[in-house]
Structures are given as C-alpha cells and as structure tokens.
C-alpha cells in the first residue's frame, strides 16, 4: 500500500514495510527523498485497514458470514438424525440391540408446506414434553375417521381440521396418538425420507398405509366447521 500525500509542496510517501526489510513494526516514510521510520502509528483508520487486510482475519470473517447460511440450510433443508427406541419396529431398529441406532435423513423442507400423505414417517415434538422429538407414521389426516386402538377412550374418531393421527409401527410398544390423541400439524418438524445407516438397509423409508382402519375424507377440508376464526 502506498499513500502519497501533498503537504506544503513536499511529497511524503508512506508505504507499508515489506517483510524483506526485516522489520514489521511501523512504516517507512519518505520525506524529501530521505527515508524515515515511524515505529508507532496512531492512525486508527490505517490500523483498521491493516487489520482487515490480514489474511487470517479475512478468512475467519468470511467463514463466519457463511454460518447463517449453513444454519438456514440445516433448518429448512436436510438434516440427519438418529432414531432410538423400538416404537418404529420393523422400519427402524429391527433388532432390539439398544446400542445400535439407525441414522436417517430428515427432510425439513417438506414441513414448510404442511402437506403430508397418509403413510409418511415424520418427526414431531411430543405434545406432553417439548424437549422430546419422536418419529411416527401418519395414519390419518384432517377430516378422516379413524378406528382407534385400546388405550384411547373412544372407539372411532373424526380428526379435526389442522390435526393428524400418528402411530408407531410397533403398536404395542409405542406411545402414540392412541395415548395422547390427535396432534396438531404445527408440531411436525420434518419428514423421514431415507435410512442412511446401517448400509444393509440403505434406501427409502417404506410407505405403509392402513386403509382398513381409516375412512378417507374426500370433501373440502376448509368446510370442516371447526374453530376457523381467530
């Protein structure tokens, strides 16, 4: 960097000291073709310029500026997650070894539109506990009528607007909608699309519907007369 300044007719040339001169402290100052060395620089602007032109500082700042983009992609794109427990047997964790967990690909972009199909495997917040996230299969969507299983109080139920019915694949070892009822669609975080680990079961998550227990609602969901005002 060279700075040429005109001051009362004489030329002052400021240049940053290059490393080959052997000394990094200060500036070489040319005044009337004679060389001076300024060791302490009080020019704040110059120091800031030097600071931001430093290669390491620039690298750190540029990397830091991409962190929000990375967080955005993880939040609204694709993430991986591991699945614990036996409630989704045989789709996930088919052998009951507690040390082995399936690693799956979570499609969080699918949760933006809130459009799901019967048979999708989704992750959602446990309604009873906001700290826990569970993976279940959507059995019925809004408007459908579902024949419930024993722990639930009623024999069959019409799913209200904005809710869905989720169940684990292993019905007997699963805490699902049969215990806590239909869940709001807003609780769903992501769709489970791929099994990544173990490699032997690498592939798409199978899509299983239960047509025998669900009577599908074919009308317009918006006409379900349930609390559709503010």
């Amino acid at each position: 960097m060279n700075v040429n300044m005109n001051k009362s007719g004489s030329t002052i040339t400021l240049c940053r000291l290059s490393s080959k001169k052997g000394n990094d402290n200060g500036l070489i100052c040319m005044y009337n073709k004679k060389e001076f060395r300024i060791t302490s620089v009080f020019n704040y602007q110059l120091q800031m310029t030097q600071f931001f032109s430093n290669t390491a500082v620039r690298t750190i700042l540029v990397t830091a500026s991409w962190i929000p983009v990375a967080i955005f992609c993880l939040d609204h794109g694709f993430t991986i997650g591991s699945i614990h427990g036996r409630s989704m047997q045989p789709t996930f964790n088919p052998d009951s070894n507690k040390l082995r967990h399936d690693i799956v690909l979570l499609n969080r972009a699918a949760a933006i539109t809130h459009k799901y199909k019967r048979g999708d495997v989704v992750t959602l917040y446990l309604p009873d506990d906001p700290d826990k996230i569970i993976a279940k299969r959507i059995i019925a969507l809004e408007g459908d009528t579902i024949f419930t299983l024993p722990p639930y109080s009623e024999k069959f139920l019409r799913i209200p607007k904005g809710y869905c019915w989720v169940e684990g694949d292993d019905t007997f070892h699963s805490k699902d909608s049969n215990t806590f009822g239909p869940v709001p669609l807003g609780l769903i975080r992501s769709k489970v699309t791929f099994i990544l680990w173990p490699f032997s079961r690498f592939g798409r998550v199978p899509h299983i519907e239960k047509p025998g227990r669900v009577s599908v609602f074919l009308g317009d969901v918006n006409l379900l007369n349930i609390f559709d005002v503010d």
Partner: protein
C-alpha cells in the same frame, strides 16, 4: 477471462452477499428477536384490531421461562399456517374453570407439557376454551414490546391480590 472478471464476478459477489445478509436476518428473526403484526379482535384492550406491530423474543420459550400472564405468539393448533397472539392463563398442573359465567362450571387440569391460552377480549376470541390446552412446542415467542403505534413495554399481566 476478461468477461468473467468484468461481468460475472461482480454479479456473483452481489448474490453471495445478498444470500448471507438474508440468511442472517432470517436467523435473527427465528432465534433472537422479531417484529410482527398482530391482527384481530382477540387481544383488544392490549392490541388494536387493525394490526399493531409487536416485538417478540424467542429466548423465553426456548429456555422454558414462560409464566402465567405472559403474552405469547404461537402457531394455531387448528391451522399450522396461522400464528395467534394470546395470553398464558394456565401452566401444567393448574386447575382452570373453562367458563366462569356458566351455571354448571367445568374445570380442567392442564396436562404436562401444555399451556392454557386465552385472548384478553374473552367474548371475541377463539382460544383454549374451544380447542383445549395447546402443546408448549407450538409457542413461537414472547411479546415484550409494542413497536407501533404507542411504543411501550408489554409487561406480565398477572396481578397478585393481597389477602386481607
């Protein structure tokens, strides 16, 4: 090569800067502080019908620090697209009278992990009285200030009655 440095490179730089700025703003809105519009008659004495701009913070719901009397913004359980602004009236374990004006009063205990929310304008508000207690995970943020009109802090509305 000259074409690249003259035309393509500046465009790429602008696009990448815009991407980073937009993502930073989005992350700020999602994790820290956000300004939104709160419409509808359900919070009438506190907020206007036509839509007040309110500031909400996302720290309290994440740290589980919400209390009775806080004004919150949450996803509507009946419509995942819509956010509603209500006041917390009951926390898990509280026993709540659904309609105090009814002859036969019904009481409900708020289940664990849920909150009971109600609008300030009780006669014109769709809230927990119609759809029941809502899961805590639906809560998006806590309203702490009104930005426009009449800027002011929104304080906890719970008043302790002194015992005589």
């Amino acid at each position: 090569m000259r074409f690249y440095f003259r035309y393509v490179n500046p465009i790429l730089r602008t696009v990448s800067t815009a991407l980073r700025v937009i993502c930073a703003v989005h992350i700020t809105n999602e994790y820290f502080i956000e300004i939104t519009q709160c419409m509808g008659p359900s919070m009438l004495p506190t907020f206007n019908v036509v839509g007040d701009f309110v500031a909400l913070e996302h720290f309290s719901p994440r740290l589980r620090r919400l209390e009775i009397g806080d004004v919150i913004v949450c996803k509507s359980p009946t419509n995942p697209w819509r956010s509603v602004c209500k006041r917390i009236v009951g926390m898990p374990g509280d026993r709540i009278c659904i309609d105090p004006t009814a002859i036969h009063r019904k009481f409900i205990t708020v289940p664990p992990g849920h909150v009971w929310i109600q609008g300030d304008n009780m006669s014109n508000s769709t809230d927990s009285r119609s759809y029941g207690p809502i899961p805590y995970a639906l809560i998006g943020g806590k309203v702490f200030a009104r930005v426009w009109p009449n800027p002011c802090w929104i304080k906890n509305g719970l008043i302790t009655l002194e015992e005589n």
